[in-house]
Symmetry: C2
Subunit: 306 residues, 2 copies
């Protein structure tokens, strides 16, 4: 059997204590998600299916900010986004500003498989989903108690809404990258976005080349962190290009992008990635990155702190 | 005075006759737009302002598929998108799925200048615009007779809607790239999208790195053509990276990306670009690209055919 590998993340955090709750819950959530994805690779199925399963598991777990458990925007609404990409033909699908759909990553995958467009947003995307057999759930399914409480607290406390330097920031994106036994790479990313984001705001997670990119020639990358930087700096695509044009290894490319190239603006971001040889790489300028990796040559590794 | 340069496009066309109407009208529209932008550069103002003025002139001209004159989607509605980026700090703004706003490029610029997010879409973006002093116009302003007739014809004639190989395709995006006397680059792109596109579909024109990218270290690029390819192939960002990592000239980078790198899928696309030395480059795999360029070292040049 060729090499198979999977790496996932459940978001990053700039707080010094790295905990937005119970660390054990995050570790268990990561383990559950990576097991779901790895079983698929181990059965000889595709990297896309493994990425899809791992991201779905995190979307379905309320502790992660994606699917149920998504952070609420300024209006107290859920607006989710997701993207998925496969590295052989560079097919991709992306969805933004959706509610009601249990698994935005499944909707992104359906859009990818239907080659007539790459990206859909809003109510039309929800209608596309229901037209393709996905169930529209009640909005209450997505709003967990902890996100509702956090939103209500923000409404009572004006200071909570102010951008404060040094304030602890949580980047609750989830993502997965995989190499299957056929040598194909895939990447997927999904998020509820930052708490109190503007209604109608689209972030990096659903932008091909920013929060998600896969190319069999180089690597698959899923990013999390300061969304506006990740979009403008095309983080995932640039890591691939640093490998392609500069001949860097995956870890060199990730570290150069995260720590060296943008020293002037010091953006907070993290990536999980895997290359066409099955090497996994993590790199993050945040204090923590909830992450896990496994391959048929490397045992399961789960970590949150540096 | 340092070198100043501006290049614009008004869309591409794969039809062998290169005309979607009166060529003189297109040439006059290009001349008007490039003059509006170049006057600003010549007055010593910024590349961003020049790009903004040139794109605005094309949005306001009903012969171009952006602003008034936008193609109608499957529901007979206008859904416009635009992006703008400056190359010094890599600030960018982007807007998708908007109607009622006369100049989507102005809305993208306002979003760029308000650094709290990079991309807004839909009704929330329209509300953001009106909250920032832009007027919401009646939807009729955007729907020209020729686009209404084209839509009605498509409803009567089922064959019109079928994707037919070899069918003439028009890619009616508009865009501009500029270098100002301070050495700053900027790029802007705006479109009504392809006729009969799915409601809620987002294309490459508003995606930073796909249809629009600027970086003072390399170049500014605006792309047009097969949107799904441009998004997945990150055309504008890749051209910048080919210069940055490979040391290619602007024309080499554009030609490599458009003609060489993706020979297997032969995507139809075109780019206008300018580098930090003020060289302009055009490259297109379509039959035609409505384009114009000018600098303080090169006279005005307007062309449509190869």
């Amino acid at each position: 059997m060729g090499k198979i590998a999977l790496a996932i993340h459940g978001g990053a955090n700039s707080g010094s204590d790295c905990s937005t709750g119970n660390i054990l819950l995050y570790e268990r959530g990561l383990e559950q998600a990576i097991t779901a994805g790895y079983n698929i690779l181990f059965q000889g199925r595709s990297a896309i299916d493994a990425v899809h399963a791992a991201v779905m598991a995190m979307e379905d777990n309320p502790i992660f900010n994606a699917g149920t458990g998504s952070a609420l925007n300024e209006k107290g609404e859920v607006q989710m986004e997701a993207a998925i990409m496969e590295g052989r033909y560079l097919h991709a699908g992306s969805v933004a500003l959706v509610d009601q759909i249990k698994n935005p990553i499944s909707l992104a995958k359906a859009i990818m498989e239907d080659s007539s467009q790459s990206m859909l947003a809003g109510q039309a995307a929800v209608e596309y989903a229901t037209g393709h057999g996905m169930m529209a759930l009640h909005k209450d399914y997505f709003i967990t108690n902890h996100q509702r409480e956090s939103f209500l607290k923000s409404q009572d406390d004006a200071a909570y809404r102010l951008p404060i330097d040094g304030k602890k920031k949580a980047y609750g994106t989830v993502g997965a990258v995989a190499l299957d036994k056929y040598g194909n790479l895939a990447a997927g990313t999904s998020t509820g976005g930052p708490a109190l984001k503007k209604s109608g705001r689209i972030g990096d997670s659903c932008i091909i080349g920013a929060g998600c990119y896969a190319n069999n020639k180089t690597c698959a990358v899923s990013a999390t962190g300061d969304s506006e930087y990740i979009m403008r700096l095309l983080v995932a695509h640039d890591i691939s290009n640093i490998m392609e044009y500069r001949g860097a290894t995956l870890q060199e490319a990730c570290d150069y992008k995260i720590f060296e190239k943008h020293k002037d603006c010091r953006p907070e971001m993290g990536v999980v990635s895997v290359d066409s040889l099955g090497n996994a790489a993590f790199s993050f300028s945040t204090n923590c990155l909830c992450r896990a990796s496994i391959s048929n040559y490397q045992p399961l590794c789960i970590a949150i702190q540096k």
